[in-house]
Symmetry: none
Subunit: 406 residues, 2 copies
């Protein structure tokens, strides 16, 4: 077991977002060490001491952050010493360094600062180049403790400089082999993916398939933790590739679905324009969040009111009255009009009912029509997203963007 302990009231009362957990997890995972548990605790002496004792029994590697500062509520070092019946010993070199640090900045060296120079007997001091509180490593009854400051930049520096090398030297037996294949999918739900893979189950021992929704993408990973599985792994990867087909838009970890659309437009010398209604600019906003958007995007008209559909996109009032603003006919007209007014060669329109009000029996909230106009074709699509306004807008915007791949 490898576990992390994050210490500090501010992590449990909502003041602070704990980013250290992801940093430690990712850096360890890249080296082949899997964190199996992570716990956040208050600055409370008894709770901390009990927890250190149970963590030592349970785990081979324990990484703590926080509680190393000079104030009264920084208790990590004393609690570890007390939990394991170790004396606290003053380190003269650190003491002098701390004293120098404060004096050179004309800041008084308070009594409370002195405690940062004390460490449990047997501790290996980890020099903090980014702040005053040094960390330490302690090997106690077959468990390695790595005790780090909570400030992210200080924690990360010590992790890289000291902890990872020590783990590789002293704890290599807790590394595990890991081989991963990533499939990034769009337009397919988590459960549909799971069902397509039904025939692959039960999976061989030490192989797993994981799913992760990163809206609007689903990330599927095939993981193997045993070298001997390497041919099975390749076979499974091939099967998954076939089963996912075009639902998988990339296997590259860096490429988002937006990047994929951007790259498609650029490669095919396409320039897009949008006529948005219910998505209110979200479609355009997503595409223009990418650097270099001017190469693939001309303009958008956000014709939110019916009047603006006529004024800006020339949709005749009669036409809107006859078919309704939310209709295949108006969607197609908007897309075509957008194409005529722009230097774009692919235009998408979106008109729908985002809600929460504005629906009818025939066209309930969640109804949305998309128009797609190119130099050769004008078509429309209908979707139904009966969900919250925000989710409706995001689903519709990504659907509109996906039409640029047609």
């Amino acid at each position: 077991m490898i576990e992390c302990i994050f210490i500090g009231d501010e992590l449990l009362d909502g003041r602070i977002l704990n980013r250290n957990q992801q940093t430690i997890s990712a850096m360890l995972s890249n080296e082949g060490f899997l964190v199996t548990q992570a716990t956040t605790l208050l600055d409370q002496k008894d709770q901390l001491e009990d927890f250190f004792i149970s963590a030592q029994k349970r785990s081979n590697i324990v990484i703590t952050t926080g509680g190393l500062g000079p104030t009264e509520d920084d208790r990590t070092t004393e609690c570890i010493a007390h939990a394991f019946n170790l004396d606290l010993i003053k380190d003269d070199a650190i003491y002098d360094k701390l004293k120098d640090y404060y004096e050179s900045r004309n800041r008084p060296f308070y009594k409370s600062n002195i405690k940062q120079a004390y460490f449990p007997e047997g501790a290996i001091i980890l020099n903090n180049t980014e702040g005053t509180a040094p960390g330490f490593a302690l090997h106690h009854e077959d468990t390695w403790f790595f005790v780090l400051p909570g400030v992210p930049v200080e924690m990360e520096t010590l992790l890289k400089k000291d902890v990872l090398p020590m783990l590789n030297t002293h704890c290599a037996e807790h590394k595990r082999f890991k081989e991963t294949a990533l499939f990034k999918c769009y337009g397919i739900g988590e459960s549909e993916c799971a069902d397509r893979f039904a025939a692959l189950y039960p999976l061989p021992d030490q192989i797993e398939i994981t799913f992760q929704v990163k809206f609007p993408e689903v990330h599927i990973r095939l993981n193997s933790y045993d070298k001997k599985n390497s041919s099975t792994f390749s076979m499974l990867e091939k099967q998954m590739t076939d089963l996912l087909g075009p639902s998988c838009f990339t296997q590259d970890i860096e490429t988002t679905y937006l990047d994929y659309i951007f790259n498609h437009l650029k490669k095919n010398k396409l320039i897009a324009a949008f006529a948005e209604s219910c998505t209110g600019g979200l479609t355009s906003s997503l595409l223009t969040s990418l650097p270099g958007a001017s190469d693939i995007f001309d303009f958008s008209v956000i014709s939110y009111s019916n009047a603006s559909k006529s004024n800006l996109l020339d949709v005749p009032v009669d036409f809107i009255n006859k078919y309704g603003a939310v209709s295949a006919e108006v969607a197609e007209f908007m897309a075509e009009s957008c194409l005529k007014k722009s230097k774009a060669n692919i235009c998408v329109s979106i008109t729908g009912i985002a809600g929460p009000s504005g629906g009818s029996g025939v066209k309930p909230v969640g109804t949305v029509y998309f128009g797609l106009a190119t130099n050769t074709n004008i078509v429309s699509f209908k979707e139904f997203y009966p969900t919250s306004r925000t989710r409706f807008q995001h689903l519709a915007a990504y659907k509109a963007l996906s039409l640029l791949l047609n």
Copy 2:
């Protein structure tokens, strides 16, 4: 004890930043409930079951997130049932709802979805309006379990809608005294706030001032944990109100800065329109994310290319050549043109250099001009946001929206 359990391999291998911990901690803390421990665990059956059993012994309130999806590695419900020897019972209403959900989207209802309709006996189902996985509450041997999905928007919705009211009804004895005054600010940094408050320090015992950045807002809270401090608390609240002045736009927890702008427009019978360039639709998208946007918004033109500034907003090509597309003159022209073409009575334009490329010595990346046109006035403003493209776009979009308050 009140504890949280976050479930999912993706939280421990570095794939995901766990934001749910802060959300839950903050929302509970605002109601007077202090989270005392938070643990992240892998999707492993034995570890989960053992942990649920120990959590039940230790804590009065247990909130879990994650592991409620349809896939094989979603195990929270079955582990809780198994840990406490409870049968899993199918809920017909949820079953039908799930089936409808998939069928209404023309998506097949897979076997794997069915398990989302099963709950431990005695569970109170918490309806998930944002996704398919319902949560549930379970009162088992003096411990309340609240079992929520891991997707942040789903988790947060259930927390607000169901968990907080149930905690207040069933667990009020675990609240601690807390008096809070909230100040929501826009246009002022965390350190500037801290500076304005310098004279208030040192604070009396059991009173604290906390800062939290919730872009684009800064939330400042005055907290007191002792009833006896009530007159000091009132005095401090008054002082803080004076020191913040108009930087504080509301003291109401529910009102966002967007709501505040929306309410201002509605109250003053204002209708907005935008001419956006570098923000690419983000400004319009933010305003139209609010229900009822059609009452206060007419249309936007996202004139991203220079050609579209001329085609759609009639900015003469000469004019752009003379002053540059990123200039006070073009910003004012865009806003005025927008006003002429719309039924709006307040128009804001945005033209700038979002980067990372496109800057020059005179107009570096981060330069942005805003135009503001009303029936009585046309003015422009300049800002400089030398930061990432995404942050630039968000800063500029909120600045544009803030001009609607002029």
